[in-house]
Amino acid sequence: MSSPYATLPEFDYVRPTSLDEALKILDEHGENAKVLAGGVGLVTFMLERLVSPKIVVDIKRIPELRRIEYTEGKGLILGSAARISEITRYMDSNPEVKDKYKALYEALSRIADLQIRNRATIGGNICEALPFMDSYAPLALFDARLKIASVSREREASIIDFVKGPGFLDLAPNELLVSVELPEPPPGSKSGFSKIVPAIEYSVASVALLLANPVDPSSREVRIAVSAATPTPVRVREAEKVFSEDGDIVELLDKALDKMASAIKDSLIEDPYASAEYRLEMLKIQAYTLFKRLLDSFLEEELG
């Protein structure tokens, strides 16, 4: 990864203090502007000369973009410039929020390392648009709504629609990701996140899974989201549907994992770090293990 560049290319720097001001700057400069939040992506990309903006727009001092708020019944709102460590700390001090969005917590608290989590932001993680970004599977799992704004309009997108492919987002140069809203998960649900990180430091297969009312087929809900093994995040609805059937839950799980395999087998990434076959096997093993872990904790609660 090393390049001969020790210094950054030249650019202008602006530090808007309101969302309106930031949107006006982006509208005026378009392709020449790049948004700076934590910088762990943008600054390294600039060092590698992958991007050379004329103007860097630092959005960290816009209070609206730093929001971290949970409201009962409405869910969790994260401003795009909220730092990863601020979000996990908020969840640590609000254990009921951590329990509701456990898969997100488990993903965020294992991003990179301590120093990076102190700078990196949720919006930066989303907008880096590489398949292994750790926020993707949990955001797909919780049906997160991404709020995007420009001077002329506001709109919403799911993470699945927003991430178009490696390096590509559904985001115009004059638009800004403002916040991420996670609605309330199903009452009493439990969730978790798991990833496989070989020596390259990035996950090659990530799974987020949610389970609610495991013993009652009429109200049971299972959600499965995968990322890192596929170019963009996927909600595996074909597998989720299996759990509305009657039958032994462990047998349903086997059937669901087969459905998951057939749903994504043609879109798996095959590269020198991990084969498609390995990635699929790791997705299945992790989904199985997560499911069993969540199921066991339901059973433990039931038995007291």
Binding site: M1, T7, F11, L36, G39, V43, K60, D113, Q115, N118
Partner: protein, 156 residues
Amino acid sequence: MKVKFRVNGVEREVDVEPYELLADVLREKLGLKALKKGCWRGECGLCTILMDGEPVKSCIILAVEAEGSEIYTVEGFSDDGRPSPLQEAFIRNAGLQCGFCTPGFIVVGEYLARKPRITRGEVKAALSGTICRCTGYKQIVDAVIEAHKAYSGENE
């Protein structure tokens, strides 16, 4: 652009270009040469500083982003040239060989050792963003645990 911040307890104002990195400004303009750049890409952790109380990697932060912040580098922890309890613990435990990574480890270590409670596992996880290629990590973890006891007034 003028940027104002406090470094090791002293108010500083520096003239910087918007594209200058904080690590370079601290080293070259403020003379804090204990701070090292190892990978230049936010990976090795040798350039770690405390910024508003949190460890961050200064080689991927623009100097202008530091406006108004409170910064500590390794120089800020010794007392008039006398090593801090953590630095003493590094010496006692042989937590260094070549020493190039030590400024990064001391900064993260001071942050960890001053927490109210830490476990060995937490120290190991928290040090994973800082890389040493000669000592190995056991002695470094030992030094942090030992300093934590000193800072929290606990005697073994």
